[in-house]
Symmetry: C2
Subunit: 133 residues, 2 copies
């Protein structure tokens, strides 16, 4: 089974300390300063295992673009701005979260499947880009 490692602990700590949605490589650059010699493969491996065990979130955006990671597990969805590509959090309160999941579960029933989760990425124009040009 899984064994403790300083590397995994640090990767999780660094991700949780950030408020943005870094790529594996962005994390690697920050982590490598605190633990020189760590390999990029270790970062990828541990991000995958942390995601698998539900300790972090993974955001798959546009094809080709690298995955982004999120250490914040509070219920929220993401919006990616079509202009600047920045990813924003939209946090949901209990009520909103229930409403959305109920609706998605309802739609899932239409094909006699069992709903387990969803990947939602909204596209739009963010606050900042709206006010430019």
């Amino acid at each position: 089974m899984e064994r403790y490692s300083k590397q995994r602990e640090l990767i999780l700590d660094v991700l949780k300390s950030r408020k943005d949605h870094p790529t594996a490589d962005m994390l690697y650059k920050e982590i490598a300063q605190k633990m020189p010699g760590i390999g990029i493969a270790t970062v990828y491996r541990n991000l995958a295992s942390l995601y698998k065990s539900g300790k972090i979130e993974k955001i798959e955006t546009m094809q080709g673009d690298p995955d982004r990671f999120d250490g914040d597990l509070r219920p929220h969805i993401h919006l990616q701005c079509s202009k600047c590509n920045e990813i924003y959090d939209i946090f949901l309160d209990e009520e909103e979260n229930k409403q959305l999941n109920d609706k998605l579960a309802e739609l899932t029933k239409l094909i006699n499947a069992d709903f387990t989760s969803s990947k939602i990425v909204l596209k739009g124009i963010c606050k900042n880009c709206k006010n430019k040009n």
Copy 2:
């Protein structure tokens, strides 16, 4: 501006004739039988331009996995089965479509952004896999 090509026309026809969600390579294999000599790059290029011009849909699933394409433009979302990885359509009637988009637009307002579209992929267990083992 864009110029007509037999290749693009065939690519669109083949995609529209299918009821599944083929990858670029799956389409290439079928197309190459009807037009021997066509290049794989042409398939990728035209799928990209057809998507850009709104004539087809693109479904980005799990990272690493190839993109899938959809010639059906009726409002619908996708569910990917966690067991068999198959992608299913969930067609929405006008009412359901409006309800869902209204809710997403409402959430978008929470961060003062303008909603334009969404990428939703539901995860769950499909009808077939539920009844197995």
